[in-house]
Symmetry: C2
Subunit: 136 residues, 2 copies
């Protein structure tokens, strides 16, 4: 069965947003990663039940998250769905006529396989398909 894996939030100010989600709302701060090839700083915020929040701050303006902030401002950036087999899920999306950003799964953070579906064909929602290292 499909699970919500995480919700990605874009912000220009990772630390202030992290403080809100930990001190005020009660999330637990997790791993922080800098991904230079994607131009983004990432901070994971853990909740109960396995659905988490991923904070994203751009390293430079000319990066995917930088351009998102320029266009939309801070806010919800993507919805990540955990699937048993990302290649299979991607194939179903292709057959349904969705526009894919990734034609094949690629390596995500923490040993995951990921692929993105374009918001244009998914009612404005950037969908990330995620397969964890251990399947489900």
């Amino acid at each position: 069965m499909i699970h919500i894996d995480h919700v990605g939030l874009a912000t220009a100010d990772l630390q202030t947003l992290a403080d809100l989600y930990t001190s005020v709302l009660g999330f637990r701060a997790g791993e922080r990663e800098t991904l230079p090839e994607q131009g983004v700083d990432v901070l994971w915020l853990h909740a109960g039940g396995g659905a988490n929040v991923e904070l994203l701050a751009p390293l430079e303006a000319d990066s995917p998250v930088g351009r998102f902030l320029e266009k939309h401002g801070a806010g919800m950036h993507h919805l990540a769905l955990r699937v048993p087999d990302v290649a299979q899920a991607l194939q179903r999306c292709r057959q349904a006529g969705l526009e894919l950003i990734d034609q094949a799964p690629r390596r995500g953070s923490g040993g995951t396989l990921v692929a993105f579906v374009h918001p244009k064909s998914a009612h404005g929602v950037l969908i990330e398909l995620v397969q964890t290292a251990h399947g489900e």
Copy 2:
């Protein structure tokens, strides 16, 4: 501990979006409700792990979701966080200086108590605090 309860998606076309999330992505269609006082049609889509998707379609243009669609187009509308005590969580948000939409908890769907925090003070994210009938 806090949990992601659901992600609310706004659309003008509930059925097409529901088909995408059920037939293609593997969510299970749940309850459908019309809430005339909020001007919205709701369809619940269930995933594993207790974090679900709520589809929202406006009954008329001049409604909260109708105005959201007019301004932003279809997409992610709100992030709902399940808390043990919504009055307490709301008080923490108030003390942290967040702008509240609801000054006190109000009745949500299915016997829940809910309150919304304004996106202006939460980095562009409309946050719903949800307390289920049975606490956690």
